[in-house]
Amino acid sequence: MIIDINFVGLIIASIMASAVPLILASCGELITERSGVLNLGVEGMMIIGAISGFALMTVTGSLIVAVFGAMLAGVLISTIFAFLTQTLITNHVATGLALTIFGIGISAMIGKNFVGIPGKEFPVLFESLKDTIPLISPILFGHSIVFYFAFALPFMTNYFLKKTKIGLIVRAVGDSPESASNQGINVRLVRYACILYGGAMSGLAGAYLSMIYTPQWIENMTGGRGWIALALVVFSTWNPIKILIGAMIFGGLTIIQFHMQAIGVRIPVQFLTALPYIVTIIVLVVISRDSRKIRLSTPSSLGKSFHKDN
């Protein structure tokens, strides 16, 4: 096979496009977890975002309303989680799982009327520049606004956590809610905000799938991507830049294995399809093997309820 430089560019662009939902949901969940809350409801929030975005786009015809509506839907469903875990002090794991089951069920119910309707075309930016520079142009140009946002997000998240005061507060709340509380920080409020933010990002990730990546609605269309996003957060040891790397490896191997099949590489297909999962974990474990750093970046109070006695 001839390796054409534009062909490489096209492959990289498709890898990046497939990584977008993972990056969005993971970066959202990362903030939630950094505040000490483990929300296993990512898959549920994503699917709610997917149906909300698609339904709003079909009903209102406005892409802006649909994108923000999907984020709002993610916020609303995560409010349930926040209320249960923060106000009623329920168990994070159980509540998060319930949220996923709830999300899948309710999205299927709302979605009944939206099956079999084609989506609208989502506008892309810099389309005219797509053929200017070989290799680079297809990677940089001709994508949706959500795509560019997703690739800026890990860096913004990193900056937010490391360089801003609010980021410091979030980390303090996640590491030691008692001390943070003694410093006069409203732990519950911070955690509420982080949960809702996570919900918004998951909602956006879902909307990307149903409105941009594969514009249609079918049940369970997130196909477990919420769980992969969750795994990325843990294996990246709560580091947004490593999330970006992990999401690219995962998306990359998924796509490259299809190419290997099409070329006719004689490797068992089952092994190829399992490859993205195995390699992503191995790579992230290897690049994060410094145990001191893991201890430092793991939110110490992750998944533990904080109950402040007045």
Binding site: S14, S18, G116, Q216, E219, M221, T254, H259, G264
Partner: protein, 356 residues
């Protein structure tokens, strides 16, 4: 006024009588067991369209969706048989053993199992569609329309149904264009729009200008539309999802069969049989042919469709060789149903190996 009253009285009597008769005759309840959600817009969705046809014919129906092909299936079936259903349609291959097992316990309930071959009790019938006939048509179109001579094929799982489709498609494409290559990519899913789109994209990037699919979602035809290549709809008419890309679709049309069988239960004429219907019986439907296809191709396809329907042409007519060059079907012969049902080898011209 007087006349009007009498007339309305008589007509309401007639109406009442009709309704009563109808109620007596149609007091049959049908149940459907689905492997996926009815919202998949694919396999299960089309079965549910069939169920709605039964409902429209005046029968009561219920359905259970997302039933795993495990002990759960048995439990669901037993529950449905216990709750007064007269006929139960089990619409996935993996329900074969549970269907036969539960059928033994409920001899008065009729069981209809889709795509299976076991009929161990007199109250079990089986049915399937000859989708490969539709793929003969798709292959003919693909072989004619391709310019790169590379045709992409997104497959789901290595089972006879899928292999048969790949073979039928490739044989037809080779017949009109001996230079074509069919590149196959296994997605190992029936529907996951993201994965299907990625598989299609990989094939397109490698030069395929016509994409066929044996997975269920519309993601592939949408990807083809975006990339400016041709594609075919699966299970339902997908033209509106990709008006430029979709040349035609092969539709699964279960409604007429379901209505027939439920009526047979109502009339007491139901009997065990094995149904394998194709284009001729209307179980496999070819959607409108796109006007981008040249007129002579369209008329050729129409003729092929008619010949497949009448049985004049068979999708698997010899000589057919396997990949190693061994004769599978001799010249002038056609593959019998037994061979088709268990087909697990590629024909000559298909690239790669079947995943084990």
């Amino acid at each position: 006024m007087h006349k009007f009253l009498i007339r309305s009285f008589v007509s309401s009597l007639v109406l009442l009588f009709t309704l009563t008769v109808a109620a007596v005759a149609k007091d049959v309840k049908a149940a459907f067991v689905y492997i996926g959600p009815t919202g998949d817009h694919g396999w299960t969705y089309q079965h549910d369209v069939g169920r709605k046809a039964v409902e429209a014919a005046g029968f009561k129906t219920t359905y259970v969706e997302g039933v795993p092909e495990s002990a759960d299936a048995e439990r669901v079936l037993r529950q449905l048989a216990n709750s007064g259903h007269d006929v139960i349609f089990t619409t996935s291959f993996g329900y074969m053993n549970p269907t036969n097992k539960v059928a033994k316990e409920f001899p008065n309930v009729k069981f209809e199992h889709a795509t299976g071959y076991k009929r161990e009790h007199p109250n079990v019938a089986t049915y399937a569609a000859r989708f490969y006939e539709g793929r003969t048509i798709l292959g003919t179109i693909a072989g004619t329309m391709t310019k790169s001579n590379v045709i992409g094929y997104v497959a789901s799982f290595p089972i006879p149904e899928v292999i048969r489709g790949i073979n039928s498609f490739t044989l037809a494409a080779q017949k009109v264009n001996p230079n074509i290559k069919t590149k196959i990519v296994w997605a190992f899913t029936w529907y996951d729009p993201g994965k299907e789109a990625e598989a299609a994209k990989a094939l397109i990037d490698q030069g395929a200008d016509v994409i066929a699919q044996h997975t269920d979602s519309t993601a592939i035809v949408q990807m083809a539309e975006k990339a400016g290549v041709y594609a075919f709809g699966q299970a339902s008419d997908m033209d509106k999802f990709a008006p430029k890309a979709v040349l035609t679709s092969v539709e699964n049309n279960w409604g007429p069969y379901y209505v027939d069988r439920v009526k047979a239960v109502a009339n007491g004429t139901w009997s065990q049989k094995d149904t394998w219907h194709g284009i001729g019986d209307g179980m496999v439907v070819i959607s409108d042919l796109d006007s981008q296809m040249p007129a002579d191709l369209r008329s050729k396809v129409k003729k092929l469709q008619a010949d497949l329907a009448s049985g004049k042409v068979h999708s698997f007519t010899g000589p057919i060789y396997d990949q190693k060059g061994n004769l599978m079907v001799a010249e002038g012969k056609t593959a019998d149903d037994g061979m088709l049902a268990g087909m697990m080898t590629y024909v000559k011209g298909v690239e790669g190996d079947i995943p084990k």
